[in-house]
Structure formats: structure tokens, C-alpha cells
Subunit: 340 residues, 2 copies
């Protein structure tokens, strides 16, 4: 068998256009094209389930996840791709190829086939052929490493009118934690970790999360699909934090990391700015506009205030404020004294 | 029969959402809602046949047509309507009513049913219920005053790849003027009048025009449907002027009016600014952003330059530069001396 050529196809599944690039060394990546300028905010009248996916949100989410110490998002990097050389000329997908056209100003555009925003009015266009995109490392094929998809217990209703259970039942957390897999091990605090990530980047679209089947129930969560994060900087979305507020439970390591990132020397916005500046697209434009970075600090403060609120409530109820903190660092307790 | 109630329905036909309002006095108007901010420019990568319709373009076109002395656009006025009181509560159109919803920030939105931009992602939203709209006087019902629809000989191809005949045939005008209705009377110069209006407001979407059937072929053209004008101010579209350049024919009255409007005391942009300031929506925001007004002056200059170019060419060819000017003012020649 000869050397593989580069190839680009549409990725099936999902509602918005994404592509799979296969490289000559058989490596694969998921490509999401730029659709929105950095300084645009999502239209206020759009529901979370109609929002665009943003390539820079995928990239920034990867950096944020790493900074929070999770490392549960597969690497995502920004790239300038050539719409013709890297996509049109190397696709065997006839349906994708058919959607290419030259715009009135001479840019090469395409729109692909998908259920949302795949039409000539929402075409993705190069300038004239150069296009910003995020490239995410593709996980091993499902035949080699099957994954399990878990529906989030705090999933939104995906309806303009219906409320989800967690929005109306004050004691919702206890019904969740009575049942597997949230009734033992670290699943609940794993999930709370994810919730904190989502609140910081204002991602309302976490309907599912995944695990690798081989590792059973006691394994890390994989934080895939972050394209709807970082849509709005001028507003926070407290409902994303509902699981933390309703369950009042957080990993000690996460809590300590958040406190560290709230200190002037390690301010989250500054660490993110520095981290994102290493992405190749940074030379085109900073990956996150400054108001988005500022929002991170404001939201981090809100997370820590929620933990404090939990601790006070716990203390008032049964005098045991440390119920809030799940101690995942006990093994370190002889060597490290956590900061006061 | 009792007094008629106010009623609002969707207007069928056309590709984008428009409504018909019926008032208690049986008057009717066509309503087009605001979809785009005044300072937004149409995306460069959109073709003319994918552009949004703009309510302020309908209003501004009416004023411009009047300033040019044509008076061939039925009156259009801006209004703030209440999305609930003026539309939702008074419609008997079940399909329209079904598309109403409240947006995440509490605005009342709807999207109707049509072939383009009628979806939740392109909803029209009040703030929270107040919506800018254009209201155009509805022409008499077709059963009372039938109209004839004429395909523009300089119609665009409405294809991303095909050229229209007029774009490739240099002698296209002579094939048009050999045949009715362009071979006699004022039809050709009537059409050129319309072309000048369209070039000034950069409307590429004039695929048809209409006349009243009763008046036969020797009648004015009705300049309906101007919602795709005023989409871009930073760019002119010389191809809209092709009929003037290819036929080199213009009414004297139009030519004199254009020359008047290019003089400092009657500058087109200033006359438009003054005229538009009388529209009720002016108190919300000027109907046309300043760059659009400036574009009018720039384009007017281009029209006059084209006429001069025609006159020079004519003179060179047969020494008769006045072939370019169609004299519709002969009846005045004893009383008025046109300005030099």
C-alpha cells in the first residue's frame, strides 16, 4: 500500500459543518472553520441551541481545560488552511465538493451539508482562499477504543418553552446522587469539574459527556465539543453552575487550583492570555478578545463565592463545612499543607 | 357589516417574510420588519440574490424616487409596531402565529413561513415588543387594477456561475430596442430612469418591473420592491448602469434633475437627509447612515460621467451628441431655457 494522500471529508453526526482531515501519516483531525469575528457577541435573541460553533472556542477550551489542571480535552490547535488545496482539491466527498463557489468578491467559499447553517447564506469563505480553523486531534476509532456517551443529568430542555427537571426541583441533586454512576467514586466531582469549565467559558450546550468504555465507570470524563463556548462576554449564565450550587461538592484539587488562579500573580485571564499566545493563529489575531478574558476572572470569582456559600450553609446545617470539599489529595497530606 | 378590526397576515409570494396589515378603514399596507442595523453592511461574500431585505431601504427608495422626480414608488413610511398588539394578537394566520416565541432576553420574536430566512436563527424580534418596520401603501387589488409584470431585459442571471446575455454581448441594447415595447414611445427611457434609481441605491435585484394593464404600453413603470437596495455603501456596482452605458439614452428631464442634484446647493445627499428626517422612524435613528448618503453623491457623479462619455462617443461617431438626450421637454422650450 502506497503512502496515503491528504484527504478531507465531512464528519457526519452533529448539526453543524465539521470536516475530518486525514494526513499522509494517517493522523486525523477534526476541522471546524471560522464563522464569527472575535469581537462579535452571539445575538441576544438566539437560544443556546441555535448558536454558531466557534473555532476559537474549541481552541480556547483546550487551553482553559489544561490550565484548570484537568487535561480532559484532546489537543486543539489553530491553523490557517487553504480552502482549495486543503479541502476542495483533496476531498472525495462529492456532496461537499458541490457546495464550493466563488463569492462576488472572489473569495472561495463552501457550505457543506448539515442540518444547521449549511446554506449559501451561511457559507464559510476564505480570504481569498485562506481560512482560520481549529484542528482537534481525532480520538482513536470507535472500533479500537469504544466510548460511552452519558446524558448530562443537568441537560437543558432544548426547548424554548419547557423547563428541565433540575430547573424546578430544589432537591434535584439528591435524586441524582442516589443512582449510579453518581452514587459512588468520583463521578459527581468529575462532573462538577466539567460544570466549572463550562461556567467559566459560558457553554450552555453540554448535553452529553463521554468516557472510554474499556476503563469502566471509574475513569476520567472526556470533554468534547466546546464550539458553543465563549459566545458572550458581557453576561454570565448562573444556571450553568446549578450542579455545584445544588450538590455543594467540589474536588479539593480543583478548589485549590481555582483559588490559585484568582490570585494576582496567577490571574486566570493572564495565564490564558499567555497560553493562547502560543497558538499559531495568535499572529492573525488574539484567540480571545479581551472582554472574554476579563469575563473569566469575573466568573472564577462567582465559582469561589458559590463554594463559600456552600460551606456556610453546610456549617449552619450540621457544623461540618468540609463536606463540601471532596478530598482527592489525602495521599499528599503528609507532604503538602494546602494554602489556608 | 360591522366595523373591520385590524388584521395582519403573511403576504404570499416573494422569498422573504412580509406581512399585510389591514386597518379598520379597510386601508392596507405591506409591512417589512427591520432585520439589519443601519451601520451594518451586507456581507461581501453574499450574492445579490441571498441578501436580506431592509425596511429602511424601502423607505429610503420611496424618498429617492420622489427626489429624482419620478414618483413611481407608492408611499412607504416607517413605523414602530408592537409585535404583540399589531401582529400576534390580530392575525388569523395560524402558521404565522405558531412561529412566535419569547427570546432568552425576553423579547417577543417571530419568523413566519417563507423560503429564505424564515427560521428561528433569523427571527425578527421586538425590543421587547417594539419593532421598526416599513409600511408601504398597498396597490389596488389585482381584480380591480390588473398589473402586467415585465421581465427586465438586463435581468441578472440569478446564478453564481452563469452570465446573462447583456454581460457578454456588446451590442445587446440594439437587440432590445428592435423589439416591442422598447422600439417606440418612452419605454426605454422609462427603464433607464429606473436603472439610474437602482444604481444610485445599489439595487442589483431588479429582475422585473410592473405597469398597470389598463393603461397599455404607454404608461409609467411602477418601481416596486426595493428592499435589497442600500446594502453596501463602500462599493458601487457599475454593472447596474449597463443599460445606460449600452444604450446611451436618457430623458432630458432626468438628466437636468441629476445635474441639479449634483450642485452644491441641492446636493442629493443633503436633499435625501432632509427628506428622510421627516419619516417617523427618524427619531429612533436616521434612516440611512451617513456613508450611504455620501455614496449617493459619488454615484450621481458616475451617472453624469457616463452620460458625458455617451455624448462624446456619439459626437465622435456621427457628430450628433443630442442623440443621447431624449427630449421629453420640447413642449416647454418656448418658456424655459435648460441650464447650460
Amino acid at each position: 500500500m502506497g503512502r496515503k494522500e491528504k484527504e478531507t471529508l465531512q464528519k457526519s453526526g452533529g448539526t453543524q459543518l465539521k470536516l475530518v482531515m486525514t494526513f499522509p501519516n494517517y493522523g486525523q483531525a477534526i476541522l471546524k472553520p471560522m464563522k464569527q469575528e472575535r469581537d462579535e457577541e452571539t445575538n441576544n435573541n438566539l437560544y443556546y441551541f441555535s448558536d454558531f460553533e466557534r473555532h476559537n472556542a474549541e481552541i480556547a477550551a483546550f487551553h482553559l481545560d489544561r490550565i484548570l489542571g484537568y487535561r480532559r480535552i484532546p489537543p486543539v490547535v489553530g491553523r490557517l488552511v487553504d480552502v482549495v488545496q486543503d479541502i476542495k482539491d483533496v476531498t472525495t466527498d462529492h456532496k461537499l465538493a458541490q457546495t464550493f463557489f466563488t463569492s462576488p468578491v472572489g473569495n472561495v467559499c463552501f457550505y457543506g451539508q448539515c442540518s444547521y447553517y449549511c446554506s449559501t447564506e451561511h457559507a464559510v469563505c476564505g480570504r481569498p482562499r485562506e481560512l482560520e480553523a481549529s484542528l482537534a486531534v481525532m480520538l482513536p476509532d470507535l472500533s479500537l477504543a469504544a466510548r460511552r456517551t452519558w446524558r448530562s443529568p443537568w441537560r437543558r430542555s432544548y426547548s424554548r418553552t419547557k423547563l428541565a427537571k433540575w430547573e424546578s426541583e430544589p432537591d434535584y441533586c439528591s435524586t441524582v446522587t442516589q443512582n449510579p454512576p453518581y452514587n459512588k467514586g468520583t463521578r459527581l466531582v468529575d462532573f462538577i469539574d466539567l460544570v466549572i469549565l463550562d461556567f467559566l467559558m459560558s457553554n450552555m450546550d453540554r448535553h452529553h459527556y463521554e468516557t472510554f468504555e474499556k476503563f469502566g465507570n471509574n475513569t476520567v470524563l472526556v470533554h468534547l465539543d466546546n464550539g458553543r463556548a465563549f459566545g458572550r462576554h458581557s453576561k454570565d449564565e448562573p444556571s450553568i453552575l446549578a450542579p455545584l450550587k445544588q450538590c455543594c461538592r467540589i474536588r479539593r484539587s480543583t478548589w485549590l487550583r481555582l483559588r490559585l488562579l484568582s490570585q494576582p500573580r496567577y490571574r486566570l485571564s493572564a495565564v490564558m492570555r499567555a497560553s493562547l499566545s502560543q497558538d499559531p493563529l495568535h499572529r492573525v489575531a488574539p484567540l480571545l478578545a479581551e472582554p472574554h478574558l476579563a469575563a473569566l476572572d469575573r466568573r472564577l470569582k462567582a465559582v469561589l463565592e458559590t463554594v463559600s456559600w456552600c460551606q456556610k450553609r453546610q456549617k449552619r446545617e450540621d457544623g461540618r463545612e468540609d463536606e463540601v470539599i471532596y478530598d482527592d489529595m489525602a495521599y499528599l497530606k503528609d507532604t503538602v499543607t494546602p494554602a489556608g
